[in-house]
């Protein structure tokens, strides 16, 4: 009964167990495209962290979105959001969120147009 520690099927865990039962991130509005980058503090604190948090810190040495974190660690988006927001609150990752006014920002739209036009 109890000798199941070697069971590789991690999906037996309820996803929200990883977030200690919380489903509301510290900042629950964090966007799925928000960029996550491990800070120097995070990089040096990696030993103190448990599995998923440690994985995120390792992964985000290369900056990526919350959605990428979720996909690469096979976490539900909601769980990834909670963990990333927690790590940000601790200063272990730096996040850059989209600007609310981007859809009205002519210069930004123009910039994206130029960037796409240069794709070959």
């Amino acid at each position: 009964m109890s000798g199941r520690a070697d069971d590789p099927d991690v999906s037996l865990l309820r996803p929200y167990l990883m977030t200690s039962g919380r489903t509301k991130p510290v900042d629950h509005t964090i966007e799925i495209e928000a960029q996550v980058m491990t800070s120097n503090l995070g990089a040096t604190s990696v030993q103190n962290l448990t599995f998923e948090r440690r994985d995120i810190i390792s992964l985000c040495r290369r900056t990526m979105s919350v959605a990428e974190v979720a996909a690469m660690l096979k976490l539900h988006i909601g769980v990834a959001r909670v963990l990333v927001a927690d790590l940000a609150a601790l200063g272990y990752v730096v996040i850059r969120r989209p600007e609310a006014e981007t859809p009205q920002d002519l210069r930004m739209i123009e910039r994206v147009i130029r960037g796409l036009e240069s794709l070959r």
């Binding site: 966007e31 990428e68 988006i77 981007t102 859809p103 009205q104 739209i109 994206v112 960037g115």
Partner: protein, 201 residues
């Protein structure tokens, strides 16, 4: 006002790029993932999000369920625009029942590309409806399967009942430059929309 939304430069040597996004919608098998794969600089990733939401507002069957839980697979990719801007493409199923979780995906999007297969036009109605109501600039892109177009574009416009203001383009989801051009159509639409809004008092 936005100072707390940005990265703290003290903690990091460099700043993460500013993320922007375009939503790619349409029915199942219409070419969303193919389009993302053709242009993304990373292989498309999939994430499954469990969405729980009060569904009363969108349920037109007369039932008023208190909650609906749906697992939605979302394929996405990204394109580096320049040193400081990264474009994300999120592909999402356009079925009616999922409409309620789109807000999360659509908020802050520059615009949307609604991909249609002319053999199954019905599949894209919910997406068209949604973007019209949400005021998100969008373009309808007819995917030319095997280089064939089964209907005249004017017929498609008539069948979809979209206004003349909605650009209608044809493209091939397998071709990078063709996908790029469809995305450019979305951005030009977004630009003119933003211009109109900026000009308005």
């Amino acid at each position: 006002m936005d100072s707390n939304r940005s990265a703290d430069p003290v903690l990091a040597p460099k700043k993460p790029p500013a993320p922007v996004k375009i939503v790619i919608a349409g029915g199942f098998g219409v070419g969303k993932t193919t389009a993302v794969a053709s242009i993304s600089e990373i292989p498309p990733l999939r994430t499954e999000a469990v969405m729980t939401s009060a569904a009363a507002e969108i349920d037109r069957t007369g039932h008023v369920p208190s909650k609906t839980t749906t697992t939605v697979a979302m394929d996405f990719g990204c394109i580096t625009i320049d040193d400081d801007v990264k474009l994300y493409l999120f592909g999402t199923p356009g079925q009616d029942r999922f409409g309620f979780m789109w807000h999360d995906l659509v908020v802050g999007a520059l615009g949307a590309l609604v991909i249609v297969d002319t053999r199954r036009l019905d599949d894209c109605y919910p997406a068209v409806d949604y973007f019209e109501k949400a005021g998100v600039p969008f373009v309808v892109a007819v995917n030319k399967f095997d280089g064939m177009l089964n209907h005249d574009l004017n017929d498609v416009r008539w069948a979809l009942a979209v206004s003349d203001e909605v650009p209608l383009v044809t493209f091939d989801a397998r071709e990078k430059l063709s996908v790029r051009d469809a995305l450019l159509a979305v951005l030009r639409k977004a630009f003119s929309r933003a211009q109109t809004r900026t000009a308005a008092p």
